[in-house]
């Protein structure tokens, strides 16, 4: 009776295309990255095994620490900006009494669907020191203050870069929190209503604590996005001025594809995965350890 479910021919026909594609494009390169991080490799020959030399060199490389610092700045700003605003926006638009909630929700989310190139180039034009929107706004307000946003040394340029990412994906975090908050059953709020709690009190005491699971996911997203940052640097600053907006991924692609140090690039990639893994485990360990079921 159930025999038709045991059909090796059909199974291989259904399973193999996916497995082969996945193995060739994801698993093989992943293992390759791990192995080649112990090689001096130019991407053409087999390379020579050099043990941990790539890693010891990396930990002595100043650029590594600049990139790491920028990754952390990126992650912190993304987290604070997106989770802060995302929470406020999500809990506001979930309230059916909010005027224009659908318009607000659509407007907040729309940058998410744009390509990172469009967003970065748009912000490049807004940051333009001579003709950009920001300096024009200062001019309009009658202020003499001008800022060359992306060319300042120090942390100004990395913050300017991070703001673009924060602006673009705030709506995404909002949508995650909104979806989480919508799934909280009504009866959790009944007691609060009877006691005459204000909206703010209700959210602080009920909604936000119940959203621990959602916040865990948002946090993993934000921190990994920060540590993995690449496109924004590539498009807007090319790591500059100097090396002040380097990120680990940017450093990795530059090592491999500009300097032909493929092995060193792989070592950076391995360091990057370990970081992301470490952060994810840490978050899983400390936040929302018990799964809530309603």
């Amino acid at each position: 009776m159930r025999n038709f479910k045991h059909n090796p021919t059909a199974t291989s026909l259904f399973v193999l295309p996916a497995i082969l594609t996945f193995s060739a494009v994801v698993t093989y390169p992943l293992i390759s990255t791990l192995l080649k991080s112990f090689y001096e490799w130019d991407g053409i020959t087999e390379g020579t095994f050099i043990g941990f030399d790539n890693f010891t060199r990396l930990f002595r490389d100043d650029l590594f620490y600049t990139s790491l610092r920028n990754g952390i700045i990126f992650a912190v700003i993304l987290t604070v900006f997106q989770l802060g605003l995302g929470t406020i926006m999500a809990l506001t638009i979930i309230n059916s009494k909010t005027f224009g909630r659908n318009a607000l929700r659509r407007a907040y989310f729309i940058p998410v669907v744009l390509s990172v190139t469009v967003v970065c180039q748009l912000w490049l034009s807004m940051y333009n020191p001579g003709y950009g929107l920001f300096n024009k706004l200062f001019e309009f307000a009658g202020l003499s203050y001008r800022q060359d946003w992306l060319s300042s040394m120090g942390v100004t340029s990395i913050i300017a870069v991070t703001m673009v990412a924060s602006w673009q994906s705030m709506g995404y975090q909002m949508a995650l929190i909104y979806a989480g908050a919508k799934s909280i059953p009504e009866h959790f709020y009944e007691a609060a209503k009877i006691d005459g709690a204000t909206t703010l009190q209700t959210h602080m005491k009920i909604t936000i604590p119940l959203l621990a699971e959602t916040y865990k996911i948002c946090l993993i997203f934000c921190i990994n996005a920060g540590l993995n940052a690449f496109a924004h640097m590539q498009i807007m600053t090319k790591g500059g001025p100097g090396t002040s907006t380097y990120s680990l991924t940017y450093m990795m692609t530059r090592s491999a594809f500009r300097l032909d140090e493929y092995g060193y690039g792989c070592a950076i990639a391995v360091t990057l995965v370990l970081q992301c893994l470490f952060v994810t485990l840490l978050i899983n360990r400390f936040i929302a350890r018990e799964r809530l079921t309603y």
């Binding site: 159930r2 038709f4 045991h6 090796p8 059909a10 199974t11 259904f14 399973v15 295309p17 996916a18 497995i19 594609t21 996945f22 060739a24 494009v25 994801v26 390759s32 990255t33 991407g43 926006m89 506001t92 005027f99 224009g100 607000l104 659509r106 407007a107 907040y108 729309i110 940058p111 669907v113 744009l114 390509s115 190139t117 180039q121 748009l122 807004m126 929107l133 024009k136 706004l137 602006w167 995404y172 949508a175 995650l176 979806a179 699971e213 996911i217 993995n228 690449f230 496109a231 590539q234 498009i235 990795m252 692609t253 491999a256 493929y262 690039g265 792989c266 990639a269 995965v273 994810t280």
Partner: protein, 278 residues
């Protein structure tokens, strides 16, 4: 107290609508400057509505430059990738969810691992692999990785859907003499249509906007997709903002339309997979 909270309420509402402007104004600014010339953008009217609608910026972006080519490339890569993602992951997750074979659980878990692997990590060997296989700088160089990267998410969604379909449906079809392939095509596929919509939207957004892989794997102009093509565009036009703005608007139209028409489904498609990423 009452006055205070009322004032607070007004302040809060103002904040909501100010951020509404912060979200939308840059896009409006882009739309406006795509219809202006440099003189207007830089000096006479940087912020407001264009004085003359300079449609010629759009004509110039399409006729004199490669925006139409990039658009076509993006369209081809997206459509072919989506078709393969759907075919491969539907077959795989049907087998994983409904058929009986050894190592089923392990194989499914193996494919799901893809959810946790950042693209950048495999970028270097992948680029070398594509070059060695000889498909660098072709549509396949993008389509193959895009299919592989979307398999994990789409298999997860389809697997969940296939599991909810009652066994009796398949059994009665089998009793009626239908083959396993017929059951899959005629009975199971129509039942997972809502999931197909979710996966298609998700894959479309991720492929259309994909940046790092396309940047590394495609260097010849003839195969560039929009996110990469726009980069070279800004180089050519660094002095002419109008046509550059027009190119950016053109490349965003499909996504904006998709979001305006099916907003709720887009938000759902993008957030539904998140629950497992933790």
């Amino acid at each position: 107290m009452n006055i205070l909270s009322k004032a607070g309420g007004v302040l809060f509402r103002t904040f909501l609508w100010v951020y509404f402007l912060i979200s939308l104004y840059p896009l409006t600014y882009l739309l406006f400057f795509s219809l202006k010339n440099n003189d207007e953008i830089f000096y006479t009217n940087p912020l407001g509505f264009p004085l003359h609608l300079r449609i010629e910026n759009y004509v110039q972006a399409i006729t004199k430059h490669d925006i139409a080519l990039y658009f076509k490339n993006s369209l081809i890569v997206s459509i072919v990738s989506i078709l393969f993602v759907l075919a491969l992951s539907l077959m795989f997750s049907y087998a994983a969810a409904r058929l009986e074979w050894r190592l089923k659980g392990a194989t499914y878990a193996y494919v799901l691992l893809g959810l946790f692997i950042p693209t950048q990590v495999i970028l270097i060997p992948l680029a070398v692999l594509m070059r060695d296989v000889g498909i660098a700088n072709s549509y396949s160089a993008l389509i193959v990785p895009y299919v592989a990267f979307n398999l994990s998410f789409s298999s997860l969604i389809f697997y969940g859907f296939f599991r909810t379909i009652p066994l009796e449906i398949e059994e009665s079809a089998y009793m009626d003499g239908a083959s396993i392939y017929r059951i899959f095509l005629r009975i199971m596929l129509p039942l997972v249509k809502p999931a197909v919509a979710t996966v298609t939207i998700f894959a479309f957004l991720s492929v259309w906007n994909e940046f790092p892989l396309a940047l590394i794997l495609i260097t010849d102009n003839a195969h560039k997709t929009l996110p990469i093509g726009l980069l070279s565009f800004s180089g050519q036009f660094s002095t002419e903002w109008g046509p550059m703005g027009a190119a950016m608007v053109i490349s965003s139209i499909p996504m904006i339309l998709l979001y305006l028409v099916m907003g709720d489904q887009v938000e759902k498609a993008l957030t539904v997979g998140s629950a497992v990423k933790g």
